[in-house]
Every structure is written in structure tokens, then in C-alpha cells.
């Protein structure tokens, strides 16, 4: 019996059921699948009346159908995915949908390979259907990177109203990585359907996401046959050690009967996916199903490939590029022990170790969950990915006698993680967790020099991370990535207005928390002079004769800027009445939520606080009509806006404006409130105060 048959011999025990995909909506009446035949376009697809509802779209996916099957090639499994796509091009703006790029991965002799690529374009010209074939001379392959090649083609003869279709099959050796299927694109999709026939030898975790319901979600058990074969060399006459004789090569084949599970999913009339402001990534919202190999059934026994956190943790901690990095920080011992002597307090020591890593290693901008080399290599290179930098950080913390542990997370642009599925693939970043006395914990990251210790970069603020621990300590746990700081902006203004309407102000401005990061990086990029020029430019009629920055390098403090502003009166002469909008120059001029509608949650990453305090001195002999105070709140302590005006002493006015958004994320259903909240706040800030001569 050959290897394959031994490995994948009929399984009769260990019958773990495959996790069923979660349908996004309850099952409805049976849905008739849309069946198209390649090479035979439907006449209805050339009638304008069938596309009236799509008048906003540049193109429509009429049908996108894929099927994945396994087969045995020699002794190993291969995965074949056939895909047939038909698209109606409605406008010239939709021509780009006739150009297709298919990325294909290859590594160490294993590859994804494309076969049977065919394509046609159909145009209705004067009542007659014209068909143009995609010629193979017009298909290209680009070696994009070391491991990726891109097959690309564009269909010929594309005009407004054309229907294009193409079909191909991808054969893959990477059954560890069954490609996800997206049911949704940035144009509407009439029908998207995916089938996967998965033999009993493979156990995939399936993860459905998105905001669209499934029209079909079925799972049926069945049987299939695989033909395994092996080329065998036999020698007759002579003996093996003497040589000679005649060699024959023959093929031994065997039929294997196996159980398969046939999955079938489809969506009908899926709207185009649109990006909205304050979104993490559109990938979080697209209707899609993901797969990850959880286990294999070999010779009747189930082998958990990933399956659970204990398993993932062990394989991570045993691997050279993760666990191997954490425990080989010995070369830092001497350096780090100096800090141990210097800092008894664990939090202070952790901050000092982080500072050491920050000063010596630069984050190269790429986000990874697993390292690319040893801690020593990263240290000597002075550069590395997020994983290289932060695994080195953990190694250094451990050398400083701080029991730091890794926390896996997924950055905002990489997408949310699903807590119900332990899939390593969902993570692309790692940070350090340091336990402190009093059951407190410190989350540390050494990629962002503009942030103080204990504050994660904004890209990391994606709800939860996963603590990785050795099996002896359990399976780890979820760690909430609570923003430790806010977007915090504070302005204190001492303002004097004269009888002509000329205004002079002394402004003390502070950017703290995440606002501090953006302000500091802007300052680094522009320099002080340009930073102030840019600030000045946002206002009509502003002159800034002097300014001074403070706490530029001390990232534990808010970035502080003191400046003077002069605003000359626009009309000459002394006025009996002046209209002043003191707050307007120091507050936002536009509602950030300018869209009337919202489909997805508003994700701001961290809470927000914006405070303006103005002490205004009136010209002698003038009095102000004080504006009314206001207090606006969002439901459920979601935020508040407070405005108050008072006259603490004659001839002076004090204005306080305080806007707070308490939550980092607001649901789509809260959007209307959020928009109205800002409208009211902005109206209050723009209000004019009347100043009269007594």
C-alpha cells in the first residue's frame, strides 16, 4: 500500500463534524439558482429595461460562480477551483471591469496554477449579437514578487452595453489555504455562488461575515472516489546490490472511496459595497466566507492542525520566528540589567526597556504577527517589522525580569477578528503584555516613538487581542485593546478686542493622547515655521507674530504651543456695535459627518475631547449680550457638548466650549444622533456675540 493510502486510508472513527457556516439570515423558501452557460449569453442581458434599477452602476456582475474540488494527483491532493464570471458593462466608466488580474502564489515548488482560461465579449450591434474571443496572445504574466505572479488579461471589443465573460481554473497545492469567496464587490452583483466539496480528510473552519443575507446555504454529505497512483520501479534479473537486470516502471493505482461534504452558498442581488469615512477597512464589511484548515484525518486519526488556541499557542511558541525570538534575548542581558538596577518599579522599568528598543530599532512599516529573524538579527539590523520589533521588546523585558507575554492582534486596516474562531491568519501584529502589581497590566509597543509607554498606536485599536501563553498556563485569553488615551485637544485663549474691532489673542494650545501623535508627526514633517504657517492659513485675516513650542520631545506630555494672534478689523472706524464670533476660529468649521446616511458603524478608534476656554476683555465702556448656555448629550453617555458664557467681572466674558465623544465606536444607528450633535455644537460655536457701547 502506498504512502497516500496509508495516510488517508478510509476513516471510520474520529468523526468530527465540520463546523457549519453561519447563515447571515434565516433560511427562506428554496431559491432557484441562476444558471448560466458559458459561451451562451442570455438575450435578456442586452435589453436596457433589465438594467433600469442599476442606473447608478457602471457595471453589474450578472453571475459569479465558483466551485472547489479536491483530487488526487499521484500521491498528493490538489485543489481545483473553477470560476466563471459574467459582467454587464453599462457605462464607459465600467470598462475597467473587463480587465482582470489573478494573483497566483508559489513557494518551494508548490504553486497555484491557472488552466483553461477562456474569455468572450458580446456586443449587440444592430440587433445582431457579435462575439469576440480573448486571444491567448493578449494574456500576460507578471512576476510581481518573489512568491507572487499575476496573470492578467483584458477582454477585447468592449463597448457600452457589452457583456464580458471569462472562465478559468486554479489548481493549488496549498490546501492549507482555501481562498475566501467574496459575494460582494464595488459594483452590484446579481448572483454569486460558491460550492466546495470537501473530503473527509480535511476539516475547515468557515467564517461568514458581512451585512448581506445568503440566498442559499446548504450542506450535504455524499461519497466520492479518488484515484491515487504511484510510479513503482521494479527490477528483474540481477540483484539490487549487483546492478544489471532490467528495470521496469509501472504505475500502481488504487481507488479510494471517501465521504465528502458538499457546501453550497449563494447570494442574490447584492448591493455594491461602498467605503465610508471613519471605517476600519471595507474588508470588514464585505460579504465573504473565509476558510482555514483546522484539522486533517490521517489514517483514521484526527490531527488538529490549528483548531484551538492551545494548539496555536504551542506552535507559535515552538517556532523559531516567534517563541524562539522571545527566549533568546540573552545578548541584551547586560544592557537591560543596568535598567533593572535603575528602575525598581516594574512600570517604569518596562518603559525604560521600551525606550531602549525604540532608540535602537526602527519599525519598517510592515505589520506581521510572526517575526522574520532572531532578536539578535533585528537588534543588529536596527530595523524590523512590527513582529520583529515587539518580539524583541518582549525578549528584552524578560531579560529585565519582567514576565512579558505576547498579545496577537489585527490592525484596523487588516480587519476585525472573530473571537469565535481561533484562526492565526486573522492576526497581523503582536504587542507585549506586562503584568503589574495590583493585577494591573501594561500593553507595550515599541514601533511608535511619538507615543508614551502604555499607549498603543492607533492602528492597534481594534477591539481585542489574544494573549499567547504556554500550554501549561492554559489556552490564553482575550485582552481588550481599550484606548489608553483620547484624541485630546485643549485651547485656552486670552482675547482682547478694542473699539475698532481689532482682536489680539494669546493662545495656549495642547494636543494630547492620539492628537499629540498626529500633531507631533506633522511638526516633524513640516518644522515649526511651516506648522505655524499652516495653522495661520486656516483662518482669514490671522497674523501670528510670535509662537513657542514646548514638550516637543517629551511624548509623555501633550504637545504644547503658545502663540499670539492678531486679527485686524475688516471695517475701519469705531463701531457702536460689534459682532464677534470668538469661538469660531478655534473650533471645527465643518460637521465631520456630512453624509446624511450611514450604513456601517463609525469607528473613531479612541474617544475624543475638544475644549476651548476663552477669556475675553471688552473695549472700555462696552458690554456684551451673553449668548445662551447649552448642554447637549448623546444617549447612553455617548458624549456631551457643554457651552457656557458668563461675565466674571464687568468688561470681561468667559466662554467655555467642551465637546466629548465618550466611545471609540458608534453604531450606524447612532449616526443620526452623532450628526445632529455636531450640528448643534457647531451652531453654538458659530454664534455671534453682540458687543455694544454703553
Amino acid at each position: 500500500m502506498n504512502k497516500l493510502l496509508r495516510s488517508y486510508g478510509l476513516a471510520t472513527t474520529g468523526c468530527l463534524a465540520l463546523a457549519a457556516a453561519r447563515p447571515a439570515a434565516a433560511q427562506q423558501a428554496p431559491v432557484q439558482p441562476v444558471v448560466i452557460k458559458f459561451g451562451q449569453p442570455a438575450p435578456a442581458d442586452f435589453e436596457a429595461r433589465n438594467f433600469v434599477a442599476d442606473s447608478a452602476a457602471a457595471a453589474v456582475v450578472l453571475s459569479d460562480v465558483g466551485t472547489t474540488r479536491f483530487r488526487v494527483d499521484g500521491l498528493s491532493f490538489k485543489m481545483d477551483t473553477e470560476r466563471t464570471t459574467r459582467i454587464k458593462i453599462l457605462k464607459k466608466a465600467g470598462y475597467d471591469y473587463a480587465t482582470v488580474e489573478i494573483p497566483l502564489y508559489h513557494r518551494d515548488g508548490d504553486e497555484e496554477k491557472i488552466t483553461s482560461l477562456k474569455g468572450f465579449t458580446y456586443n449587440m450591434v444592430g440587433g445582431k449579437l457579435e462575439k469576440v474571443k480573448l486571444e491567448s496572445a493578449n494574456m500576460f504574466t507578471e512576476e510581481r514578487t518573489k512568491n507572487t505572479r499575476v496573470r492578467k488579461f483584458t477582454l477585447p471589443g468592449v463597448r457600452e452595453g457589452a457583456v464580458v465573460e471569462y472562465t478559468y481554473s486554479v489548481t493549488s497545492d496549498f490546501f492549507f489555504h482555501l481562498q475566501p469567496w467574496a459575494f460582494q464587490r464595488d459594483i452590484p452583483t446579481r448572483w454569486s455562488e460558491y460550492r466546495a466539496s470537501i473530503p473527509e480528510y480535511f476539516d475547515y473552519k468557515m467564517l461568514m461575515q458581512g451585512y448581506e443575507p445568503l440566498a442559499i446555504s446548504q450542506k450535504e454529505d455524499g461519497m466520492t472516489q479518488y484515484m491515487a497512483s504511484e510510479r513503482v520501479q521494479t527490477t528483474t534479473g540481477g540483484s539490487a546490490w549487483q546492478g544489471g537486470g532490467t528495470s521496469h516502471t509501472s504505475t500502481e493505482a488504487q481507488t479510494i472511496n471517501a465521504r465528502v461534504t458538499n457546501y453550497h452558498w449563494a447570494m442574490r442581488d447584492v448591493p455594491a459595497l461602498r467605503e465610508e469615512p471613519y471605517m476600519t477597512t471595507p474588508d470588514d464589511y464585505v460579504a465573504r466566507i473565509d476558510f482555514e484548515l483546522a484539522g486533517e484525518r490521517l489514517g483514521g486519526t484526527y490531527r488538529n492542525v490549528l483548531g484551538d488556541w492551545t494548539k496555536i499557542n504551542s506552535s507559535l511558541l515552538e517556532s523559531d520566528d516567534f517563541g524562539g525570538v522571545l527566549n533568546r534575548g540573552g545578548f541584551l542581558k547586560e544592557l537591560v540589567q543596568q535598567l533593572v538596577a535603575q528602575y525598581a518599579d516594574p512600570a517604569a522599568r518596562a518603559a525604560a526597556v521600551r525606550e531602549l528598543v525604540l532608540r535602537n530599532v526602527k519599525y519598517d512599516g510592515s505589520n506581521r504577527a510572526v517575526g522574520s529573524g532572531s532578536a539578535k538579527h533585528t537588534w543588529e539590523q536596527h530595523r524590523g517589522t512590527a513582529a520583529d520589533v515587539n518580539l524583541l521588546l518582549i525578549a528584552a523585558l524578560r531579560q529585565a525580569d519582567l514576565p512579558a507575554q505576547p498579545v496577537l492582534l489585527s490592525t484596523r486596516t487588516h480587519g476585525r477578528v472573530s473571537v469565535s474562531s481561533p484562526l492565526l491568519e486573522q492576526y497581523n501584529y503582536v504587542v507585549a503584555l506586562v503584568p503589574l502589581p495590583d493585577k494591573k497590566e501594561l500593553l507595550l509597543d515599541a514601533t511608535e516613538p511619538l507615543l508614551p509607554a502604555g499607549v498603543l498606536p492607533q492602528r492597534c485599536l481594534n477591539q481585542v487581542g489574544r494573549l499567547v501563553v504556554p500550554a501549561a498556563e492554559g489556552e490564553g485569553r482575550w485582552v481588550e485593546l481599550v484606548p489608553a488615551q483620547r484624541h485630546s485637544h485643549y485651547q485656552q485663549v486670552t482675547m482682547t478686542v478694542d473699539a475698532q474691532g481689532n482682536i489680539t489673542s494669546q493662545v495656549q494650545e495642547q494636543h494630547g493622547g492620539y492628537s499629540g501623535v498626529s500633531a507631533r508627526s506633522k511638526l516633524t514633517e513640516l518644522g515649526e515655521k511651516k506648522y505655524v504657517t499652516e495653522l495661520t492659513n486656516q483662518h482669514t485675516n490671522w497674523e501670528v507674530p510670535s509662537y513657542k513650542f514646548a514638550a516637543v520631545a517629551d511624548v509623555s506630555q501633550p504637545l504644547s504651543l503658545h502663540y499670539e494672534v492678531r486679527q485686524a478689523a475688516t471695517t475701519p472706524g469705531t463701531a457702536q456695535e460689534l459682532y464677534l464670533k470668538p469661538l469660531a476660529s478655534f473650533c471645527e468649521s465643518r460637521n465631520p459627518f456630512d453624509n446624511a446616511q450611514r450604513r456601517f458603524p463609525v469607528d473613531l478608534g479612541a474617544p475624543t475631547q475638544d475644549v476651548v476656554l476663552i477669556n475675553l476683555t471688552l473695549p472700555p465702556g462696552y458690554v456684551a449680550e451673553l449668548p445662551k448656555s447649552a448642554n447637549v448629550s448623546l444617549p447612553e453617555q455617548g458624549g456631551s457638548y457643554v457651552f457656557s458664557a458668563s461675565s466674571p467681572t464687568p468688561g470681561t466674558v468667559q466662554l467655555i466650549s467642551r465637546l466629548t465623544l465618550a466611545k471609540p465606536v458608534y453604531g450606524a444607528e447612532e449616526y443620526g444622533n452623532l450628526r445632529e450633535f455636531y450640528r448643534l455644537a457647531l451652531a453654538k460655536q458659530a454664534e455671534a456675540m453682540v458687543i455694544k457701547k454703553q
Binding site: 518573489k146 464670533k581 456630512d594
Partner: protein
């Protein structure tokens, strides 16, 4: 002890320590180019070798991303001989030597809207966690495309100082070098040295402090020293040519394309039929252009010589797509078949792109268009029509901001000829707007805004109209509304009549506004110019250093009709404003119409007194003053008072 001494002796000398940088060069600099030594060796008419030795000290984080790494392009006709790198600390001690495995290689065949090219990049990252540090890169490019010689501009970005740089070109004396020097300081060029059959040219630049980019300045690349090189004779893939003149360059490109204009008989017959259907040449040309626009699209495939040689017309006829060369060649063939001779023309396309350097014939182009002389017909006088063949939606004969207002190289059987493309002045860059505002007593309003944009002013909007879906159109318009809180109740974009001399786009916008007028006690304050305000320029800090490049001439006309809420009256009408300067004219008036409606009218014409040539820096305060006055007038405020009944 002895060992220690030996170790010290054996230690390499520090390279480029930061301490040796003159303080003046560190001022206002994120990085300092310590050396930029380029050597160009012309091997033959068909090959040159270019080596670069580049050393940059990165002073702070802002310089790191641009100078701590290196990206070099190569392609089928340009291969990289070697790429070496090293990084040193502030004291000049070696931190790391770049290893081959650390040089990444990547295809960029789909970049910049291309479909397929053979262009690839190699990149190396030597960025360090904190500055200062110094990177040193050495690389060699062997080029089989001698149509292009390198250009040398060691300092070309802001906030980067230069310590020194050299350029050396060695060429067979029989292949004389052509060069163009820009703003070189005295003594930068040395006399060519002839040794045997070789001639060597040398240039060098002394130290120069970092420069700042100022508002409304010409691009820095035109303000800093440069030497641009070009061959006299060249050869690419067996195609010999000369760059001695525009005529000879044109000839070479013309010949590359010769014989590639054969049309399938059915298509040729269809075009010939137009001779009967449309006897008027302009009408006929329009029909040919419409045919091209409805049956082809732009797909860019640039492989090897295919970057310069057009694909045959027959391939466009069968596939329905091509790049700018192929579509222009195809359209030219169609026009010819329809009895309309036209010329393919090379152009340096791009919005706000500086014109070609006319005095230095060389390959400066990035795009291809068509130029068609039209003979007089009946009462219509002779004319020249320019066609953009890569757009499926551009108006017939319109070049716009992408290819207008500059020079193009016509390719004729007699060779190349540099001619001007259409010129678009203020009237051809015009925006007319009529706004009706129905104000409510709480300061909110409903508004209808009708905007007509003509010529250059419609370019972006035409693109938005044809390429954006309704959601994208709304997003774009919404992002540009200078209002605090609004809801777009309707938006419609529509193209003006195709027969107009210039294309136009009409926008109709419905708005619901809140907080438009500010309540102040019993009054409402309102700036009637709510959408058309022109921003003032930033205050000048210190003396203006660079010349003043004005935006293209433009005309803006705004009429706002303000329908007052019941019980409100205007306190007093603002006085009219009138400005007249070399930079433009401005007029705004406010009046009460017989039905009680307030009408605000504003007209602003922006001029370019010097055409596209920048003005001297000394003119900046004058221009700034003009903009300040315009901005002030644009903020004219109305005070509405509620009259108690």
C-alpha cells in the same frame, strides 16, 4: 595591549561623519546629500552605462523615508549592473553593509494605470531608528535605450542640502554629447577633454543649503541647478536616429510607426463611406472621432521598444483597445481613410506641466495626440483640430488642461515640427453660478445652486460626470462645500451641448442648510458669498525667495438671490467693491430687487500678466495684497434685522 592597538589600526577610517557637515547646511534640512557622483559612459550609439555614487546623511525622522531607502527602476532595455549599499552612524562607523538578500525585487507592471509593462524596481531599505545616520548607495545601470540619456540634478527637493556633486560623461568623440545646463553657478562646467578617441565632459556643484518650497512657486526642479543630457546620434533595437533637431527626432518616431496604419478592409470601407455621408470635413472628422470613442478604450501595454513604437492599427481594430500611440495611430489611419490627413503628435501631458524645453531637442514627451489641419469648406475657414484619442468622453477638438497651452511635436513624413496646441484663456476657464437662497428666521436655508463650468473649469467635473457614479459625485461635491452643516437634497451633473465651441458641465445642486446665518440677538448675520470665496494667501515670513507662478487665467461669476424670512429686513446694504490690478479685476455689488429679494453679484477675473512665465519674486507682496483684498470683499457681511410687527 598589542591586540588592542592592532584592532584600532585595523579599524576602517570613519566615513562621512556628521560633525564635518557645515552648520549652514544643517539649517532647515531633513537630510544632506554628501555626495552625488554620476558617471555616464557612452559605449556606442546603442548603449550607455550609468553609475551613481550617492551618499546622504539623514538628520531626522522626516528625512528617513525619502533618503534612508533606495528604489531603482529597470526594464527590458535597462538592466541593473550592480546595487550596493552601506549605512554609517553619526560618527561615520559602519553599521551595516547591504546584503544581496536584502535587496527586494518587484514588478510594477500595473502601476500608474498601466495594464502591462516590463518595468520593475529593486529597493533597499537602510533606514535607522534614529538620526543622524548616513547611507551610501552605489549602482550601475546599463541602458540599451540611448534615446534617453540621464539627467543630473543632485538637489531637487525642499529641506535637503547639498555638500557637493560631480558629473562625468565619457563618449566616443564621434558621438558628440548634447547637454542643457540649468542655473549652474560659475565654474561648474569644465572644458571637455579629448583623449584618443574619447571625449570627457565634467561638471561639479559646490555646497548649497536646503531650500524651502514657497506658495505659488514654480516646481523646485526648475529652480535648482541641473544638467540634462541627450545624444546626437542614437540607436534603439536597431532603429538608428538623430536628436540633432526636432525635425530628426520626429523623423525617427515617424519611421518607427511607418507601415503600421493598415486597416481591415471592412473598417476602411466604412470610413470611405463617410466621404459620401458627410461632405463637410469637420462633420466627417467628428463622426470618425465618435466612432473611435464608442468602439475603443485605453489600455496601456509597454514592452521593450513597444514603449515608443505604436501597435499596428489592425490590432486596435480587432481588440478595441490600445495605448496613446496605438489609438492615435489608429484614429489617424481612420481619418486618412475618410479623406482627412492628420498628424500624430508627441506631447508632455499633465495638468500644470511645464512646457517642453524648446531649445533642447530631446525626448521630453509622455503622451501622443492627433493634429488635423482642416481645409476651408464653404463658409467655414481653414482650421486645426486637435484630438485626444485615449478618452471615450472628451469633446471633439478639446485638449483642456491635460494637453492645452503648450507645444507638441508633429510627426510628418518630412520629420518633426514643434507647434503650439490650443490656448485657453480666462473665457475658456470660466465658472458661472446662480444661487437662490430661501432663508428661515433661525438662520437655516434652502438653496438651489446652478453652476455652469466651461473649458478648463469643467475638466475635473467632466471626469466626475463620466467616471463617477452618483454616490461618488455627491461625495466629491460635498467635500468641497465650504459650509458648516448641510444636506444635499439633489445633485445633477450634465454635459452642455456638444456643438458648443468649448465643452461645459452644468451642475444643479439642492441644499438644506442649517446655521448659515448666525443669530445675534434680534439680528441675523450672513455672508452672501457662501460658495465662491477665494482664499487669501498665507502671510509671507521673511523675504520671498522664489518667483511667482500664477494659476491659469480664470473667470468667476456669481449671482446670489437671497429670499428673506418674513419680518426681516436688511439693515444697510454693503457698499460695492471694485478692484482693478494687473492680476485681475473684482467687482461685487448688493442690491434690493423690487420684490424685496436681495441680489448679490460678484465677478472675479484672474489674469496672468506674464503668461505661463513666472513673475519675479518682488511681485509677490503686490499679488498677495490683491488676494487679501479679494478675500476681504468675499467676506462681506449682511445684517438682517427683525422688525417687530
Amino acid at each position: 595591549m598589542l591586540l588592542t592597538i592592532l584592532a584600532v589600526l585595523a579599524a576602517p577610517a570613519p566615513k562621512y561623519p556628521v560633525a564635518t557637515i557645515a552648520p549652514a547646511l544643517r539649517e532647515n534640512a531633513h537630510a544632506v546629500v554628501r555626495a552625488y557622483d554620476e558617471v555616464v559612459t557612452v559605449k556606442s550609439a546603442s548603449q550607455l552605462v550609468n553609475t551613481v555614487h550617492k551618499v546622504v546623511t539623514v538628520l531626522d525622522g522626516a528625512g528617513s523615508d525619502s533618503y534612508g531607502q533606495l528604489v531603482i527602476e529597470y526594464s527590458a532595455l535597462n538592466r541593473i549592473g550592480y546595487l550596493r549599499g552601506a549605512v554609517y552612524d553619526a560618527n561615520g562607523l559602519l553599521l551595516h553593509q547591504l546584503r544581496a538578500a536584502e535587496v527586494h525585487d518587484q514588478g510594477v507592471g500595473s502601476a500608474d494605470g498601466s495594464f502591462m509593462t516590463d518595468v520593475r524596481v529593486r529597493y533597499a531599505d537602510l533606514r535607522q531608528p534614529s538620526g543622524p545616520y548616513t547611507v551610501e548607495f552605489d549602482y550601475e545601470i546599463v541602458s540599451d535605450n540611448t534615446l534617453f540619456y540621464p539627467s543630473w540634478q543632485p538637489q531637487h527637493a525642499e529641506n535637503v542640502a547639498l555638500e557637493g556633486a560631480t558629473l562625468q560623461v565619457t563618449t566616443p568623440t564621434s558621438l558628440p554629447l548634447r547637454y542643457h545646463e540649468q542655473l549652474l553657478p560659475p565654474g561648474a562646467a569644465s572644458a571637455p577633454v579629448v583623449a584618443g578617441a574619447q571625449t570627457t565632459y565634467r561638471w561639479q556643484l559646490p555646497a548649497h543649503p536646503a531650500v524651502d518650497e514657497e506658495p505659488l512657486a514654480p516646481p523646485l526642479s526648475t529652480l535648482l541647478p541641473a544638467v540634462r543630457l541627450a545624444p546626437a546620434a542614437f540607436e534603439v533595437q536597431g532603429y538608428k536616429g538623430s536628436l540633432a533637431s526636432w525635425q530628426s527626432l520626429g523623423q525617427w518616431v515617424y519611421q518607427l510607426g511607418q507601415g503600421r496604419d493598415q486597416l481591415p478592409p471592412a473598417v476602411a470601407a466604412k470610413m470611405a463611406q463617410l466621404l459620401v455621408e458627410a461632405p463637410n470635413p469637420r462633420d466627417r472628422a467628428r463622426k470618425v472621432y465618435e466612432y473611435v470613442q464608442s468602439t475603443t478604450r485605453y489600455i496601456s501595454v509597454q514592452l521593450g521598444l513597444g514603449g515608443w513604437q505604436t501597435a499596428p492599427a489592425s490590432s486596435v481594430a480587432s481588440g478595441g483597445y490600445g495605448d496613446c500611440k496605438a489609438l492615435s495611430n489608429y484614429t489617424c489611419a481612420l481619418l486618412k481613410a475618410a479623406g482627412l490627413p492628420a498628424y500624430v503628435a508627441l506631447v508632455k501631458a499633465g495638468r500644470d506641466q511645464a512646457d517642453v524645453r524648446q531649445e533642447f531637442p530631446s525626448s521630453q514627451f509622455n503622451h501622443v495626440i492627433l493634429c488635423m489641419p482642416l481645409a476651408a469648406h464653404g463658409t467655414a475657414p481653414a482650421d486645426t483640430v486637435w484630438l485626444e484619442c485615449t478618452s471615450q468622453t472628451d469633446a471633439f477638438g478639446y485638449m483642456g488642461s491635460f494637453t492645452g497651452n503648450r507645444h507638441a511635436l508633429l510627426l510628418t513624413p518630412e520629420g518633426g515640427r514643434l507647434v503650439a496646441t490650443p490656448r485657453y484663456a480666462a473665457q475658456a476657464n470660466r465658472q458661472q453660478r446662480r444661487t437662490d437662497l430661501w432663508l428661515t428666521a433661525d438662520g437655516g436655508a434652502k438653496a438651489t445652486v446652478r453652476t455652469k463650468r466651461v473649458g478648463l473649469a469643467q475638466d475635473t467635473y467632466a471626469q466626475l460626470l463620466h467616471e463617477g457614479d452618483p454616490e461618488q459625485q455627491k461625495r466629491y461635491v460635498s467635500n468641497r462645500l465650504p459650509l458648516s452643516h448641510f444636506t444635499i437634497t439633489s445633485l445633477r451633473l450634465a454635459a452642455g451641448p456638444a456643438t458648443d465651441a468649448l465643452p461645459s458641465v452644468n451642475e444643479t445642486l439642492g441644499l438644506e442648510l442649517s446655521g448659515l446665518a448666525t443669530p445675534a440677538g434680534q439680528r441675523l448675520l450672513l455672508e452672501p458669498n457662501l460658495l465662491g470665496r477665494l482664499a487669501a494667501l498665507p502671510a509671507q515670513v521673511g523675504a520671498r525667495e522664489t518667483p511667482l507662478a500664477l494659476p491659469p487665467a480664470a473667470l468667476y461669476q456669481d449671482t446670489v438671490r437671497l429670499h428673506l424670512p418674513t419680518g426681516f429686513k436688511i439693515d444697510n446694504l454693503p457698499a460695492p467693491t471694485e478692484l482693478s490690478t494687473a492680476y485681475g479685476t473684482y467687482r461685487s455689488t448688493c442690491a434690493t430687487l423690487p420684490d424685496g429679494t436681495l441680489q448679490y453679484v460678484r465677478q472675479l477675473e484672474l489674469r496672468r500678466p506674464n503668461g505661463s512665465t513666472p513673475l519675479p519674486a518682488a511681485k509677490y507682496p503686490e499679488y498677495q495684497d490683491f488676494r487679501r483684498k479679494v478675500n476681504q470683499a468675499d467676506h462681506t457681511q449682511l445684517v438682517l434685522v427683525k422688525h417687530e410687527a
